[in-house]
Symmetry: C2
Subunit: 335 residues, 2 copies
Amino acid sequence: MRAIAQFEFGSADVLRVCDMPMPTLRPHDVLVRVAATSVNPADLRARRPSSARSIAREFPLVLGYDFSGSIVELGSKVAGWQVGDEVIGCPSLMRQGANAEFIAVDHRVIARKPKALTHVEAASLPLVGLTAWGALVDRANLREDQTVLIHGGAGGVGHVAAQLVQLLNARPVVTCGSSQSLAFCRDRLGLNTCLDYRAEDYADRLLESTQGRGFDVALETVGGDNMNVTMSAMAPLSQVVCIVPSAIDGLRSGAFMKSITVHYNMMTAPLEYERQPEKLGENLATLAYLVEQGQLRPVVDRVWPVSEMAVAHKALEAGGVTGKLAIDVADGWLN
Amino acid sequence: MRAIAQFEFGSADVLRVCDMPMPTLRPHDVLVRVAATSVNPADLRARRPSSARSIAREFPLVLGYDFSGSIVELGSKVAGWQVGDEVIGCPSLMRQGANAEFIAVDHRVIARKPKALTHVEAASLPLVGLTAWGALVDRANLREDQTVLIHGGAGGVGHVAAQLVQLLNARPVVTCGSSQSLAFCRDRLGLNTCLDYRAEDYADRLLESTQGRGFDVALETVGGDNMNVTMSAMAPLSQVVCIVPSAIDGLRSGAFMKSITVHYNMMTAPLEYERQPEKLGENLATLAYLVEQGQLRPVVDRVWPVSEMAVAHKALEAGGVTGKLAIDVADGWLN
């Protein structure tokens, strides 16, 4: 089969089309013909050289942590799925990814593709949807009427998280770093409170947006110094879900004095696939259901054919994306 | 009335016996004649000069965040209490403390003194008991059969936390730094797994004590570099309750990769007294009930008369305490 693989860590230029053996099915796996995938920060982290790499990688390495496609073969212990079913999923970081004609994936982590979406749209949902749902619902236990801070409201995780907060009857406040992103959040997502983090009085306006009470929940997607900004805007006994490996100064940040709970949340972590694959599948089915009900929609910013994967990586690295960058795998190989 | 007060921040030598006006009752307060108090690390932090002081302090400052005594007067909005009732409590850090003949305290945060304990024993329970209960039950949601790491198992919070873990049918593993403390944990508390953190193979033995699975819950009472030791011994998706204002390196510590939840927990934080005083009172009543049932017992290491408060402070600073350092306030003024 054809795949986009890399034989060393490096810039987007290490990505190349090559022939790979067909994936071998484990008993719980289905084999999926990939119709579309998308690009996530997880691809960039896995692709680059890193001194802090926490997952062992072998070459040739195939990235791609989202897919939409159709089942072409079933493993020996697979129940509930048929050849021909159209499915979506967020495959494990520990195995070869979806930037290929076929992927072998544990059937417990997949869900039916929402009919309302194209493959390209559907492939833009799993990783960011599972990240946002896992963070807000499973970790922070988000409840009605809570006020939620979402950094990067126009980003992949951010734009889905903001929608989820609204449909859970809580109140999102998003931050953005460009007028384009602010317009996207207001006009496409219908959000009322969108703050420009470049503004001089940003920290004040953040706290004002909660009438001075502080946020009940925050989704920390930036890390570094931003963590202190987040902590200063939180309410006592509030919940911060940190999806980046940021450091926290308990005293200086105010986290200790306010008895804040910090949930580190590494989505696509090996542990989730080993410990609770069914939970990932259930969450993804819930997200697909919300899409079918018209309550949730991943927004695709741009689409490339799979042969231009390196261009898509560079676009994500350049920033300024509103929504998701998707990859059409069905036709792209012909280019 | 007489009190132990200080007129500047400094060493234990700033503490002196002096005359103070009687406390003024707020509507929800009761006035308690203090029979006994105890010394906690919170006293040392409040007494010393600090660049990181988070609570404003005015002189003369009266410390003392535990008491056992009897009610002598009721505020206008107090219900459920009578003059003469023997009560215990952990007063707010925001007000004058219990190192005095009398203290004014919100009736919602106090509980009946367990009859099974002397005043000196009873005054050793509230702060450490509320800290341990709040951390393990309210924050970490401790469940049966979980494995719990408790640093400083012979210390004030540690020795009560270890007992609570046992009576909640979970499994405590305690760490100590002296043979005396290890003997205390084994012989007085009946704990099976007590590890010496001075041992060379300490980190290995910590993980072995969980059969390699890692801890479900940890009570972090040390902070600093110890946080990395704690994180390395935790299971994925586990809970660390941090009762010191420690910093966390999300990546290097492994907290991110294991999706660990860190609950900062500042006991005696103003917010608990402002937001949920009834909860503190309920928790203290539960602790008193467990004492009456013979399931929990604070251990008093040494007792001093109140006039020797500075000696007690120095003893806590010197370390090596097994259990609590208590102060007899009823008679001590005569010395």
